[in-house]
Amino acid sequence: MFRSLKIFYAFLRKDFLIAYSYRTNFFISVLTVFFLLFILSNLSKLTSNNEIFGDFKGNSFGYFVIGLAIIDLAMTISSRGAAQARELQLTGVFEELLLFRRSNAELMVSLFIYPTVFALFRFFLILIFGVIFFDLQINNLGNFALLMLVMSLSVISFVGIGLISAFFIIILKKGDFVNSINLILCIGFGNIIFPSEIVDTQLNQISYFLPITHSVELLRELLIGSISTESISTNLTYLIGLSFSFIGIGIISCLYAIKFAKIRGSLGEF
């Protein structure tokens, strides 16, 4: 365990130093949070009293902000982690890492440490900016332990999706399509911008299999809504199941991908 933490820290430090060497990009990415919130606050003026927001009628800004924060978290973790797998393969660092004979699962998860920390930073920044500059009302911080549990499970599931993307990168050398499909599904059926119930087909059943659906519903209830124990336990059960399924599938598929690439001799290809 200590060894794994040491490696996670090494990746975190290395990726932070690289990101810090591109300081302008870092600060601009922080500024974009402010402008996104500005757009959402204006958009919410149009939709504020719309019935489709159900319990959140009258607070569509809060509805949008939680949606934005969670989709940003999901996509930053899965796409940046997978992009790192591609970059390491492109440069040959991936082969060098394998030479150190660490656990391949540990190595693959390490790629997602900095993206996760950075994404969490942006997540809380969205909420903090929302409260300070746009009058976002957060009313349930008393459930901090539950909030942390939901955040942890959400992060685990998003890392799992990123690992599935990394699997395709190692096998096919490109895996962006996994994140593109994930983004489309999340926006279409994940309750990010609108409730999935308004999708008037059986396709809205997809929403149950997206971790983000349950993350966003739980976070809305925990942060800006009134808490219903029944809804929380249902969503939490789904989220636990999906988190462990996605991380399990992600790790196993990456281990298979490395084995496959060694047989094909394609570890160093890109």
Binding site: Y9, L17, Y22, E96, R102, K262, R264
Partner: protein
């Protein structure tokens, strides 16, 4: 015996460029090859471009899996290629070495090792990797290979693109400090065996026309 290679073969599929092509074509890179590496060996692996030197070294390092045959490994293996991109170019030499050191199980960091001074890395350790000369990059590559405290070092044409002085300094360091002082086995892949001036005790020729030499 540190490594025992028995009758290994490796073929690679060739990419198809015509959509209509149904034939699977492949190239045989290594065919029924055997070798042993002992702890006191300095092996020169000679071969022209495309003769399979890199493939063989990557198979020894377990970065490629052979199609047939078996390999017994009884020691840690370090592989040094010519790929200068396999570092984090925006980080300093020190940060690169610190990162790779943290992946190894060593108690002492490579940054505290005298070899850093012998390799002359201490003079440019705070520089970003991207700002180093080719010779300096090669030294850092060798320093990284020392991190895992391997028993066998596989060098893949690492003196390519170096001037005569740098080439001599690097070969002398590997021969005197790694092979003689640290008693590590060396496999030196090259297309020009004269560059190591008969320091080797075994010569393996991978050129197909000389395979039995």
């Amino acid at each position: 015996m540190l490594i025992e290679v028995n009758n290994i073969s490796k073929k690679f599929d060739l990419p198809k460029f015509k959509l209509s092509s149904k034939e699977n074509s492949f190239i045989s890179v290594i065919d029924n090859f055997s070798m042993d590496i002992d702890s006191k060996d300095f092996i020169c692996l000679v071969g022209n471009n495309g003769s399979g030197k890199t493939t063989l070294l990557k198979i020894l390092a377990d970065l490629i899996t052979q199609d047939e045959g078996s390999i017994g490994r009884n020691g840690k293996i370090s592989f040094v290629s010519t790929n200068e991109r396999s570092f984090f170019w925006r980080l300093s030499v020190k940060e690169n070495l610190r990162f790779f050191s943290s992946l190894a199980n060593n108690k002492v960091s490579i940054l505290d090792d005298d070899l850093i001074n012998i390799l002359g890395i201490d003079k440019f350790i705070e520089k970003r990797f991207m700002n180093l000369s080719s010779g300096q990059k090669k030294r850092v590559m060798i320093a990284r290979s020392l991190i895992s405290e391997a028993d066998i070092f596989l060098f893949d044409e690492i003196t390519n693109s170096l001037d005569e002085l740098s080439r001599k300094q690097i070969i002398d360091f590997i021969y005197e400090d790694i092979f003689l002082k640290k008693n590590k086995a060396i496999v030196w892949a090259t297309h020009n065996p004269h560059e190591i001036n008969k320091k080797y005790n075994k010569l393996i020729d991978l050129n197909k026309e000389n395979r039995d030499v």
